[in-house]
Symmetry: C2
Subunit: 164 residues, 2 copies
């Protein structure tokens, strides 16, 4: 049985708990959370979010990319969010490699030349949060009155600390 | 109090439940889930995922973009995942607009010219899952033996149905 089949089975149990809801498409808190794909971070639980509360955007590292901006613009302009939280975490996969060696690996392993592509690794997790908050502040597509906060999540303890 | 402050407070309660864990950086199931930022979808609960089980990647629509590929390549090549689930959902924000009107809106509202940019809206949610599964199958950076599945999540009932 593939994991997909296991997820489909687990989902049947979830449906019974879920019941029929008719939550609005616009998030109740008007917040969008930008964070990492890491498996040790369950965003809704860690931040106390109920169903319908906030948009959750996740990529490798929780980095502010063009696609993240695309998503945030839709979140804000179509669905009314007005606050962004950038949440990176300890022991991140984005800290496990550097661009050049990773490009070399992909050429050897997959035969694909991705030289020049930035996979957005980082060394210092507080610095990466600050960088991404700054990118959001400078972005012309994000209105100036949007509230932007940042934090680091500790994958061992589940705790968040704010980044200024 | 901003919502960020509320999330920080809720997180304090979560820390007590979390306890000290030392889960490995590599996801246990070796699965990466590609899905939407929608607030009505809590991925871990809906699929029965424990902490540490799977990477969760989310953007507007759950679309396979360059940034999604960047994240999946890191997920697979650095963290060992070998299965991808594409999970879109009913009543998606990506079904609420079309590119040209949205570009016009951004020009009027924010004074920014984004003509030509594809914000990746779609009409038919099963079709969008198939399109994105196909993009993954054709992508040279995703090995051929990676298992790719697709499903649609119903935001009213919490149920998933497979897309073939």
């Amino acid at each position: 049985m593939s994991y997909f089949e296991q997820f489909m089975q687990a989902n049947q149990a979830y449906v019974a708990l879920h019941g029929q809801l008719n939550l609005p498409i616009k998030p109740k808190t008007r917040v969008a959370i930008v964070t990492c794909m890491d498996s040790r971070l369950h965003v809704a639980q860690a931040l106390g979010l109920a169903l319908g509360d906030a948009h959750i955007l996740r990529n490798a590292g929780g980095r502010v990319t063009d696609d993240m901006i695309r998503s945030l613009v839709i979140s804000q302009q179509q669905m009314g969010t007005r606050e962004i939280v950038v949440l990176h975490h300890t022991d991140c996969g984005a800290q496990t490699f550097q661009n050049e060696e990773f490009q070399e690996h992909l050429k050897t392993e997959l035969g694909v030349d991705v030289s020049g592509q930035d996979f957005l690794p980082f060394q210092d997790v507080e610095e990466s949060v600050r960088e991404d908050m700054q990118l959001l502040r400078e972005c012309l597509l994000i209105p100036d009155d949007v509230v932007i906060s940042g934090a680091v999540y500790d994958v061992d303890t589940g705790s968040m600390r704010e980044v200024y």
